[in-house]
Amino acid sequence: MATLRHQQEKLGLDTFLRGLWEENPVFVMLLGMCPVLAVTNSTMNAIAMGLATTFVLVASSGLISLLRNLIPKQVRIASYIVIIATFVTVVDYAIQAISLDLYNALGAFIQLIVANCVILGRAEAYASKQRLHTTLVNSLGMGAGFTVALLALGTVREVLGNGTLLGFQVMPANFEPWVVMILPPGGFFVLGSWLLLFAYIRQRQDQRVLEKGGVSDAR
């Protein structure tokens, strides 16, 4: 699964779905953790950050895939960084134009999308080798996986830490919010819990395979 195929991948459902689960950038590959932890203190921020990152991911991967035969090997990283920084600047201005409140809530983390290793990783490992349409679908899947991960943290932290979801009260009035959840430590705790849950599920799956007498290829 993790072999770097130099031959062209055929477009399939798996091209998209891989980013959501099997190679989820956050929960499986542990990439791009900084924004995941920093902007997920509310669901709205999580959605906005997820969409912004997905846009940069798809746009820059697409362009890199188009130019993949023109970029000499020696300067490829520099070219990728310039392309990514360009699209991040575009998103930065777009969000300012859409809503200043949102821009202030996300702060410097929109510009820090540049340093998100998910995007550079995609460019290096996939977009620089594959054709345009598979690249677009694959990076869309990765972006979706990233957004889902942000949402998984954002909803839990907002509901527990503030008693609200997207600003609406969802917890009963006598619920005492766990303020720590929207503070920095809460980010670490919630992400840690999610990873624990996924590790547990994977362990159960492995066990089931073993019980059936099959050969487990995991790990």
Binding site: L30, L31, M33, C34, P35, L37, A38, I77, A78, I81, V82, A85, T86, V88, T89, D92, Y93, A108, Q111, L112, V114, A115, N116, C117, L120, V180, L183, P184, P185, G186, G187, F188, F189, L191, G192, S193, L195, L196, A199, Y200, Q203
Partner: protein, 196 residues
Amino acid sequence: MQGESLGFIFLNAAVVNNFVLALFLGICPFLGVSAKKETAWNMGLATLFVMLVSSVSAYGINWLLTELDLMFLRLICYIAVIASAVQLVEMFIKKFSPSLFRSLGIFLPLITTNCAILGLALFQTAKEYDFLQSVVYALGAGVGFTLALLLMSGLREKLELAEVPAVSQGAAMSLMLAGLLSLAFMGFAGLGGSHG
């Protein structure tokens, strides 16, 4: 804000708003190279060094772009210049101090994509620090980063000896530890309260 004292800027960047534990910058190296105290120390030093270099270059770029009225190119210039500054530093160290290169060398390229470095450049611009303030801010951020890395590696070395359920080993455990550290660092908030 103008008029913040240098000591306060240092303290603020190092502990009150620690880059790793309060602002979530540089999480990847924080989780990746905090298994051993030795490597954590080297990584911390390398980061501190690069932070100083990029803080100075970011100050220069910002001045130049403001003069030229080209603010919209700031992000692209920052990342490009930081990446090349790291390369230059690497070549420089390799040539003049091979022993230092051996201990820091492999970490330098890793640092280029460390968002703490870019974050530092962006924050010092947003806070409108002057030159000296920027340098002190970078120093504080680097010391804070090293501190967080060292604390974390100390904890993880101890944990190697403890028996934990297999399912919670690895990243999940590291994140829980980081959460506890972050909780502890919240105690530093208010240090600046008596100031001004």
